[in-house]
């Protein structure tokens, strides 16, 4: 039968348990693993070996700069180059009047960048994912904490890893198929 093993999923009841488990697993040398929790448990990301980078911040900064310069240019160009008009005796480049728009566009583009950046880096939207097959996984968005060690981890072997996970006395350890 053509079903492959995605990994082993351990279900825990408390954030403390899963945090301990994740740290141990990482220390054991498991690297291809992830946790699934109903809320952001502090330290868990680091525990599964995720280095918090500046990627997102960089994306947002780029968005902001685009909005900032784009905004000012948009006000400046038509008034000075494109179609200069005498408006109430004001000079063509009356820059103070262009600041509000510049500012608003800075914010707008930053915010859009933040949203798009976050989703992109997280690979969302992703309607299907093997972990959804795990029994009881619907409680990952309620009150249970899941640790999944993936099958393609070099150190992964079905028996040993299951044994290893059983060691943290989870509610249950189950095989996740993709």
């Amino acid at each position: 039968m053509a079903r492959y093993l995605y990994g082993l999923m351990a279900e825990f009841e408390t954030p403390e348990q899963i945090l301990a488990a994740a740290e141990r697993a990482h220390a054991e040398g498991y690297h291809r693993m992830d946790t699934y929790t109903p809320f952001a448990v502090e330290g868990l990301a680091e525990a599964v070996g995720f280095q918090r980078g500046r990627k997102l911040s960089a994306i947002v900064l780029c968005g902001g700069l685009t909005g900032c310069f784009g905004g000012f240019f948009m006000c400046w160009w038509p008034n000075v180059i494109g179609y200069p008009l005498n408006i109430g005796g004001k000079p063509w480049n009356s820059w103070p009047a262009f600041i509000p728009i510049t500012f608003e566009l800075t914010i707008l583009f930053s915010a859009l960048a933040a949203l798009v950046g976050m989703l992109a880096l997280n690979g969302l939207p992703m309607p299907y994912h093997p972990v959804f097959n795990a029994p009881n996984f619907d409680r990952a968005s309620r009150d249970r904490f899941f640790l999944c060690i993936e099958a393609d981890d070099p150190k992964f072997d079905l028996g040993g890893t299951r044994e290893f996970l059983e060691g943290f006395d989870p509610v249950e350890v189950s095989e996740v198929e993709s």
Binding site: L85, N86, I87, G88, G89
Partner: protein
């Protein structure tokens, strides 16, 4: 207006008109023959059927504004037909040759208007005008610079007369017993009656006209009367000049015409006279007065004006000394003055309340000090005795021949017109009248209350009415024939100084109307003479008889064309007449002095609708009346003191009972109105004026009696408890609802230096009195550099508050020039009037006798225009020449510009105000100006279309514009030339010179908006001997 069409349910008629008339019209190019089709229509079975179910036999159908039709439906329905006639006619010139004012290519150059000189009769007396014609459509009336009675100025009536031409409510077809009829049908019917009349020498024939000055018409009438020796000719002008005529008779034993030379008068005493506005010569007088009034620098001299009047008048607002007293008391003051001047003045009556002997003494000194350069003017509403006194005083002061001259009367047959009408009514009542022909009159509406015209006319078996509208008089006539407008038919008329003008038509009759001349011709059995031939024929006879310049006789053709070209006929000015006033003439009568006590009521022609003949003119109805700023109404004007005494408040409806006649009118408390004197303007309360004027205001004729037509005593006022909502465009709070004084607006105006005024003496001491006060200096540094306008043209305007008389002519001129919409009473009440230029009035001092200051307010074309930088779409921007441009098709209507306009001169189309539905109004519009639609902002453009036109001409001729080549509409019409527009980059231009004067000041300069429109501060020239 063909009656079938007033029935909104019945569009059948309109459609039939379409089908039948168009082919026949294309067959006959001449609009006059257009109604031929109606004969067919007449006999058409469908028509008969339609008629049958529409009018029960013999019953005259209701007309405009009646039968629950509101104005809009009405215009729609009427427009349908008016349009058909209008559109077929509007591009047709009269068949005869008419001569443009300025020589131009004879054929039309599309887009280039032609100007024609002609004359507008008002009260029978002519006013010289130039009419702008676009492709054969008269669109604008201006004053005629070559005409002695105009010198280029035009008044509200002249300006608005073009709207009357296109009035969709005008009568459009002969009516016989309420049925559509035809001119031929009329001639046949009339012919029969004349035949029977001729047997008796016309014993039963009467003709009723207004005052006739037209030489041709008079000549025709004369020959008619020779044909019907026993027939009678009666004249009646509701606002006629009987008193002036009788006064002259009193003084000189004969009718003479009095002409004033205000340019020569240094001291002027007005006895209740509004000579700057309401006299036939008003335009010329205003120009002369302003010329003498104008001061360039402190070294100059100016005139001094004393005004005694009961109700605020335009003349009064310019007075250096104005005393509001009852009109009936003015006689006593005149006598006192006469006495002081050694003129016999009969019984020396005690001075009335409000007049001090010192005042009169000071006045007398002043007059004596200015012998032969002073002038006493008696108001047309004053009794003959006062006129006689005025003549005597002028005589005593040696003014005759200098500041006042006399000629033969301008009327062809001067007569006591009220008496004339009374005689007619007596004859009718006595059954002595069988055939009555009325030409351009409306006695059924405007006959005095004690003259039972309507009752009497029932006894006349054949009644014919020739009139512009199917008015109250048409209603009681068997035949109504549509009359031609003065822009539609040939004619002639005499002007205030007797000089005659040819009235040349600019357009063939829109609705196949007939002129008085044609009617007269019919009486003589000539049914196929054209008016043109009649008029030209008359003058040719005159020329041949040698009554005109010798050149005329030799080459009449050229003479004729020159006369048409100039707008008046040379050699027709009446010769100055040497008459000596019977010194004691004034003493002769003391009539009308009986009513020394109690409340008097004064009747006046309305400054907007005159005697009621303009009642259906929306421009004039919506025009804010001077001082009160009232629109769409007439009211009983009461002084604050009297109102307090009688417990009257603004908008109270009072019942006025006078000699058993009564009318109910709303009260308006007007500062400057004399105590114990109330005023009511004539011309309102029309029953059949048309969609616009019907039912507006109250009919003052209903209580006006023939023996006291202008000043009546013994009126009783009783509050009815009702309120009538009055709509004013300013001074909302001057007298608030509780009748209690709230002078905030005027006080603020002076705190803010909106009005700057000084006496001549102060001006001499400090020529810079009008400079901005130090705390308001605009020296404050601006964050931004100034825009450089020093290259090319820079447009600017200067308004001389010292000569502006606040006559409103500029406002109406702007209506006509810029296609401004009329919004109606309700919308004016909502504060949405659309006038681009307005005359602001501020009062100073005691509200019972305040100084009134007029200030023309229009877009100031600020260099740092606050309206521009707030517009989100750049719909209002600045031109390199300093014009504050308004781009209608870019405007999205946020109204931010108006909010940010410190002068609030912008106007917004809150709804669809322009009338897009009435075809007869299409040809009226100025093709050079956009007709604005709903939701856009608009405002004064300095008549940018005129600027562009002039620039194109200049560029074609490869030259720069000459100063004065561009005149804004308001400037061109201004009778006193108070408005001057031009290029402020040219130091030699008139406007630059005016702006260079020390009295020049800008409004709200402290806002650093740098207005291009500035004002010359007002000067007064009080007599130092008079305190306060």
């Amino acid at each position: 207006m063909p009656n079938p069409m007033t029935d909104s349910k019945d569009d059948l008629k309109a459609s039939e008109l379409v089908q039948i008339q168009l082919p026949s019209d294309s067959a006959n190019p001449h609009p006059p023959r257009f109604w031929r089709s109606l004969d067919e229509l007449n006999n058409g079975a469908a028509y008969q059927k339609g008629l049958a179910h529409e009018f029960p036999e013999g019953r005259f159908p209701k007309t405009s504004g009646q039968g629950g039709l509101n104005r809009r439906d009405l215009l729609k329905v009427m427009g349908a037909s008016a349009g058909l006639a209008g559109l077929t006619a509007c591009t047709k010139l009269p068949p005869e040759k008419i001569v443009p004012y300025v020589r131009q290519p004879e054929e039309f150059v599309p887009g280039i208007p032609l100007f024609y000189a002609t004359a507008m009769p008002l009260g029978g007396i002519g006013r010289g005008v130039l009419v702008e014609s676009h492709m054969g459509r008269p669109t604008k009336v201006e004053g005629n610079p070559d005409h002695p009675g105009s010198l280029g100025g035009a008044d509200v009536f002249g300006q608005a007369s073009v709207l009357t031409l296109y009035d969709p409510d005008r009568s459009q077809v002969p009516i016989h017993f309420g049925h559509l009829a035809s001119w031929d049908g009329f001639i046949a019917d009339f012919g029969d009656h004349l035949a029977s009349e001729s047997s008796t020498g016309g014993a039963g024939l009467r003709i009723l006209t207004g005052s006739i000055t037209s030489p041709t018409l008079a000549d025709q009438i004369k020959s008619v009367l020779s044909q019907f020796p026993s027939a009678g000719w009666h004249q009646y002008e509701p606002c006629g000049r009987d008193n002036a005529r009788e006064g002259a008779k009193l003084a000189f034993g004969q009718y003479v015409n009095t002409i004033y030379r205000l340019d020569k008068a240094d001291v002027i005493l007005s006895l209740d006279s509004d000579f700057l506005f309401a006299e036939p010569g008003g335009l010329r007088y205003a120009r002369d007065f302003a010329g003498r009034r104008r001061m360039v620098d402190p070294s100059g001299t100016t005139n001094r004006l004393y005004v005694l009047e009961s109700t605020p008048s335009i003349t009064g607002s310019l007075a250096d000394h104005r005393v509001p007293i009852r009109s009936s008391d003015i006689q006593a003051v005149a006598r006192a003055a006469a006495q002081g001047l050694g003129v016999p003045s009969g019984s020396d009556a005690a001075l009335p309340a409000g007049m001090s002997a010192d005042w009169v003494a000071a006045l007398v000194h002043d007059l004596q000090a200015h012998r032969a350069s002073s002038l006493v003017v008696a108001g047309e509403q004053q009794p003959p005795s006062v006129h006689a006194l005025a003549h005597a005083i002028n005589h005593a002061l040696g003014n005759v021949g200098v500041t006042v001259i006399y000629t033969d009367p301008v009327e062809a047959n001067a007569t006591d017109e009220i008496k004339s009408l009374k005689d007619l009514v007596a004859d009718m009542d006595g059954g002595r009248v069988r055939t009555l022909l009325m030409i351009g009159v409306n006695p059924a509406y405007n006959a005095p209350a004690d003259v039972p015209f309507v009752a009497a006319i029932q006894k006349v078996d054949f009644r014919v009415h020739l009139g512009l509208h199917q008015d109250e008089t048409a209603e009681v006539c068997h035949w109504h024939v549509p009359e031609t407008h003065y822009l539609e038919a040939w004619g002639d008329v005499r002007n205030y100084d007797g000089s005659a003008s040819i009235i040349q038509p600019l357009i063939a009759p829109l609705y196949g109307g007939k002129s008085a001349h044609e009617m007269m011709a019919v009486l003589q059995g000539q049914t196929n003479l054209s008016t043109h031939d009649l008029v030209r024929g008359y003058w040719q006879r005159q020329a041949e008889a040698g009554h005109l310049a010798p050149a005329a006789a030799s080459n009449f053709e050229t003479f004729w064309e020159t006369s048409l070209n100039n707008g008046w006929i040379e050699g027709t000015t009446l010769a100055v007449k040497q008459v000596t006033a019977n010194a004691s003439a004034g003493a002769a009568t003391t009539a009308a002095e009986s009513n020394a006590q109690g409340l008097e009521i004064v009747f006046r022609p309305d400054p907007s609708v005159w005697d009621g003949s303009f009642a259906n003119n929306a421009w004039l109805q919506e025009l804010p009346r001077p001082f009160s700023k009232l629109t769409w109404d007439n009211t009983l004007l009461v002084s604050p003191a009297t109102a307090a005494r009688l417990g009257l408040q603004r908008e109270d409806v009072v019942k006025i009972v006078l000699e058993g006649h009564e009318v109910e009118a709303p009260v308006l408390i007007l500062p400057g109105q004399a105590a114990n004197s109330v005023a009511l303007h004539l011309g309102y309360g029309r029953r059949r004026a048309g969609g616009v004027g019907t039912g507006v205001g109250v009919n003052a004729y209903a209580i006006r009696t023939s023996d006291a037509p202008w000043i009546a005593a013994g009126a009783t006022l009783t509050k009815t408890g009702d309120k009538h909502h009055l709509v004013t465009t300013q001074n909302h709070h001057l007298i608030d609802q509780n009748g209690q004084k709230v002078e905030e607006e005027s006080e603020a105006a002076f705190d803010r230096h909106v009005i700057r005024v000084a006496t001549v003496e102060e001006y001499g001491r400090d020529p810079n009195f009008a400079a901005d006060p130090p705390e308001e200096t605009t020296a404050a540094p601006s964050m931004y550099p100034k825009v450089d306008y020093s290259q090319g043209y820079s447009w600017g305007m200067s308004v001389d508050l010292n000569t502006c008389i606040g006559c409103n002519a500029c406002v109406v001129a702007c209506y006509a020039e810029n296609n401004i919409a009329v919004v109606g009473k309700e919308e004016v009440d909502n504060g949405r009037d659309m006038q681009w230029i307005r005359v602001d009035t501020y009062f100073r001092g005691d509200l019972d006798n305040p100084e009134a200051y007029n200030e023309v307010m229009l877009c100031q074309h600020c260099e740092n225009a606050p309206c521009e930088y707030v517009c989100p779409v750049g719909a209002t921007v600045h031109s390199p020449e300093g014009l504050n441009l308004m781009v209608y098709n870019r405007c999205v209507g946020t109204r931010y510009c108006s909010n940010n306009c410190p002068y609030k001169v912008r106007r917004f189309n809150f709804k669809l105000y322009s009338d897009w539905d009435t075809p007869s109004l299409y040809p009226l519009r100025n093709p050079d100006v956009t007709v604005r639609s709903r939701g856009v902002m608009e405002k004064c453009t300095y008549c940018v279309q005129r600027i562009m036109e002039a620039k194109i001409v200049a560029e074609r001729e490869d030259r720069t514009l000459r100063d004065g080549e561009i005149q804004t509409a308001c400037q061109q019409t201004c009778p006193t030339q108070a408005i001057v527009f031009g290029n402020i980059n040219d130091p030699e231009s008139r406007v630059s010179k005016l702006k260079a004067q020390s009295r020049d000041y800008g409004l709200l300069r402290d806002l650093n908006v740098r207005p291009r429109t500035t004002y010359l501060a007002r000067l007064t020239n009080p007599n130092v001997e008079i305190k306060g």
